[in-house]
């Protein structure tokens, strides 16, 4: 009786795909192809090089050394970051640590300091500190917030009823943590660890400054000495393979499980653990972390600023660099967010296998290190499209490839909050599909788009590797100027640039923290 009407109702929305969605899909596919350009380039370069030369260039002791360095760096840094991230997230979210909110902010703030500024700060204090120990130590302070952020959000989302239930089944508190809490943190741990790992593979400035060789630093050395050596391409190939290993590991560890809480209703607020007399011992952890992650940069920067005096603030140069940086951040941020709109809309409104696959392409493309993206775009423009070499268009494309997921995450969240009925109402009032989309969903998703622009700008501001290789002639961003000056051992002269980068990154970092709280529902 009712079955016919029910069938009609469920089929109706799918029957006519609005013309807008086919256009959106086309644009999304084009952007995905552009994003996959660097990866395709590396594969093409390998084929062109020929197996024999390729094998010769890959299986040599230099590559072996770099591989050992990279593996040691990743294997040491990620577990330390994970332990630090879980401990800090637990202390700030689930214990009565004095000033938990304050510490929570401090745990995110290191992200406002570019990784190579961390490095600069450490060798400013300990000039002899280099090699693997320095690489691990500085990486931990620079990147642990990537684990802290998702972990603290995950702690807020945990349903405390599960922990009560486990206790009623006879588990002591530590066993509850190990068997119920930790498994539920797995998604956050895997995601955060992947992010840290990819940053370790991609980072140039941090490791170059402490003379620790990784694939990225080696590729840049190679690039600067021979310009387009085949050797650089083969190093890039190995680096890409390393990224794939990380991606594969993360995918297999993450599993397919759903961790959302079952059943209706709102979760009770988590119970807050009483630290009692351990309170002051526990305070040591965030305090020591903050001392290294924030105290060291603040100390070094203020020392150099005082030593340099007013003389280091050459207003013409600093002002120009600031202006150029802001311009490129804004252009890059807008372009990245605009490029993310089609796929964000598709993944919310038309979640099909195709849109999920496309989304995967964007994430894969953005996990390619900046040096690989830059190397690919340099070679392609020089060989095939010389007018585009070192043009604004090329560098913006590099930023789109590298930072699109940042814009995608914020956009998707805010599009999902706009009810589809509003879009349909606009269509019923005579707007064309594209027009309806623009007038309703896109308009209402504006706050998410703004956050997307801000977050990708944060990435662009602190990006050094690709910017250096791709920036148009005469461009000198804050990061580039800072790097050039430290290269000339003018640490005092570099300080104002670092201070400006931190000053402009701080509000964006806080936005990131705020957004992660919002996504977690608080």
């Amino acid at each position: 009786m009712t079955s016919t009407t029910e069938t009609r109702i469920t089929i109706a929305p799918r029957a006519r795909l609005p013309a807008a969605s086919s256009w959106t899909l086309t644009i999304a596919v084009v952007v995905a192809l552009l994003a996959l350009l660097p990866l395709g380039f590396v594969l093409w370069a390998t084929v062109v090089t020929g197996w024999e030369t390729a094998l010769q260039l890959i299986f040599r002791s230099r590559v072996g050394d770099l591989l050992v360095n990279t593996v040691l760096l990743v294997v040491l840094t990620i577990p330390i970051c994970a332990v630090l991230g879980v401990s800090l997230a637990w202390l700030t979210e689930r214990s009565d640590l004095p000033g938990a909110r304050f510490w929570s902010w401090l745990c995110v703030t290191p992200l406002a300091v570019p990784a190579f500024v961390h490095s600069y700060a450490w060798i400013g204090l300990w000039p002899g500190f280099n090699g693997l120990p320095a690489g691990v130590a500085i990486s931990v302070v620079a990147y642990f917030p990537f684990l802290y952020l998702p972990l603290s959000a995950a702690f807020r989302l945990l349903d405390p009823a599960l922990e009560d239930q486990a206790a009623s089944l006879g588990l002591a508190p530590f066993a509850v943590f190990r068997r119920v809490v930790l498994p539920q943190l797995r998604l956050a741990l895997c995601g955060g660890a992947l992010l840290v790992g990819l940053h370790l593979l991609a980072e140039y400035g941090l490791f170059a400054m402490i003379r620790f060789d990784t694939f990225t630093t080696a590729i840049i050395d190679q690039f600067q000495s021979t310009y387009n050596g085949v050797a650089a391409y083969m190093l890039a190939l190995v680096l890409v393979l390393c990224c794939f290993v990380l991606l594969g590991l993360e995918a297999s560890l993450r599993g397919r499980s759903r961790y959302a809480r079952l059943g209706p209703g709102v979760a009770r607020r988590p119970k807050i653990a009483r630290l009692g007399k351990w309170k002051y011992v526990a305070l040591l952890l965030p305090a020591v972390t903050a001392a290294f992650a924030l105290g060291v940069p603040v100390l070094t920067l203020s020392r150099w600023l005082i030593a340099g005096g007013a003389g280091v603030w050459r207003l013409d140069e600093v002002g120009l660099a600031l202006w150029q940086t802001l311009a490129i951040c804004l252009i890059g941020g807008l372009a990245t967010t605009a490029a993310a709109v089609p796929i964000a809309w598709l993944s919310v409104r038309r979640p099909t296998r195709a849109s999920r696959f496309l989304e995967g392409c964007y994430y894969l493309a953005s996990s390619m290190p900046g040096v690989v993206v830059a190397l690919a775009l340099v070679t392609i423009t020089v060989r095939a499209m010389l007018p585009l070499y070192q043009s604004v268009a090329t560098i913006v494309l590099a930023y789109v490839v590298m930072f699109l997921p940042r814009a995608l995450v914020s956009l998707r969240a805010s599009i999902a909050q706009v009810p589809v009925e509003i879009e349909q109402a606009a269509a019923s009032l005579g707007r064309s599909p594209g027009n309806a989309l623009l007038a309703t969903t896109i308009r209402l998703a504006a706050p998410g788009a703004a956050a997307g622009v801000a977050l990708s700008s944060l990435g662009i501001m602190n990006e050094l590797t690709a910017t250096q290789m791709l920036a148009p002639n005469g461009t000198r961003t804050l990061a580039m100027a800072f790097w050039a000056l430290t290269g000339e051992i003018d640490y005092a002269g570099a300080a104002p640039y670092a201070v400006l980068m931190v000053a402009f990154s701080l509000p964006l970092t806080f936005l990131l923290h705020h957004q992660s709280k919002k996504i977690a529902g608080r």
């Binding site: 239930q165 486990a166 206790a167 006879g170 119920v180 498994p183 759903r258 209706p264």
Partner: protein, 342 residues
């Protein structure tokens, strides 16, 4: 034999008293239901017994051991008390087998045998063991939650509205299954619910809770037919409350002279009848005359409003086989004694 004793338990959340002095004793092997509207403090009471929260005042004694008072508490994991929560609260990251075996400490073969036995006990297909909780229906999840709690052979089982998230049909079937399993295992049970029908059907002892206190504790029959006050009467089911003049076990009321269950009382009082004591007859018979003011057909029964002159009006459900219409004159008969509120 008293198995669980709660003595003047108090628990304050901010300025709100969730529990305002609760006393209860539960005998071994019995089933007790705590029933009350939402927010009356019944879940808080259960959380204190389970050991998830600590009381501000009062104490909990269980099988001769003091579990909690204001100063010290035995932690939840050392109490040996099982709990089944409203939504089952299965661990989403574990399979059904791992969920049921969660609290079991034994070698694999013993554990698997026990898990199979528990699945059989709660009437679930062993093929489900490899599934994740989100692949099960609500009723199945509740059975798994029960099996998981039973696995440790608890001496006391707490049920926190375990049936309220289920559909009406499934609710009765699941309740029956759970009751049978618990009875067969001889486990003392404490059920918390806001559904008075469920409480009356489930328990040997019912505690009616209101604003952090027990209004009445007694057998289901006692609290239903001899409630302490009008609010308790109305909470446990439809109640027709009449003003009356009482003397020598007889009450002069708008429904005529009725026997009451209190022969000592004299004077004005309120008396209560349950709807099943009342008969509505169309063609004469014993009783007082009344008028049908309004009738709503609801399928098998009809909801009728009856007035006795201008003084008194009440609603009652009658079988739809009676063909009444508004304005009809009817005779109201009463069976059994009315309950008197002192």
């Amino acid at each position: 034999m008293t198995f669980l004793t709660l003595t003047s338990l108090r628990k304050q959340y901010g300025s709100v008293a969730a529990l305002d002095g609760v006393d209860l004793s539960v005998t071994a092997g019995s089933r007790t239901a705590i029933v009350g509207p939402s927010g009356c403090g019944k879940t808080t009471l259960l959380r204190l017994v389970a050991g998830f929260d600590a009381p501000d005042e009062g104490c909990i004694v269980f099988a001769g051991q003091q579990l909690a008072d204001a100063r010290s508490q035995v932690p939840a994991h050392k109490r040996g008390i099982g709990i089944v929560a409203q939504d089952g609260c299965l661990f989403p990251h574990l399979t059904i087998r791992q969920n049921i075996g969660f609290g079991l400490e034994a070698e694999a073969s013993v554990k698997n045998a026990r898990i199979a036995q528990l699945m059989d006990m709660v009437g679930l297909d062993p093929a489900m063991l490899a599934r994740k909780p989100d692949q099960l229906s609500g009723g199945q999840q509740q059975r798994v939650a029960l099996a998981r709690a039973l696995a440790r052979k608890p001496r006391l089982m707490l049920l926190d509205e375990p049936f309220s998230a289920l559909d009406t049909g499934l609710r009765a079937a699941t309740r029956k299954a759970v009751t049978d399993v618990l009875t067969a295992a001889g486990i003392t049970t404490l059920l918390v619910t806001h559904d008075q029908g469920e409480a009356l059907a489930f328990a040997d002892q019912v505690a009616v809770m209101r604003a952090g206190k027990f209004a009445q504790v007694g057998s289901p029959r006692e609290v239903y037919s001899r409630p302490v006050d009008v609010a308790t009467a109305a909470f446990l089911g439809e109640a027709i409350v009449l003003p009356a003049e009482v003397a020598d076990g007889r009450a002069q009321s708008p429904l005529g002279v009725l026997p009451v269950d209190d022969i000592a009382y004299r004077g004005k009082a309120e008396i209560m009848l349950r709807p099943e004591q009342i008969t509505v007859a169309q063609n004469g018979g014993d009783g007082v005359f009344a008028t049908v003011a309004e009738i709503n057909f609801c399928g098998p029964i009809s909801d009728v409003r009856i007035t006795l002159g201008d003084a008194f009006t009440f609603r009652i459900d009658i079988s739809s086989r009676e063909t009444l219409s508004a304005g009809d004159r009817v005779t109201i008969g009463v069976a059994g004694a009315a309950h008197l509120f002192r």
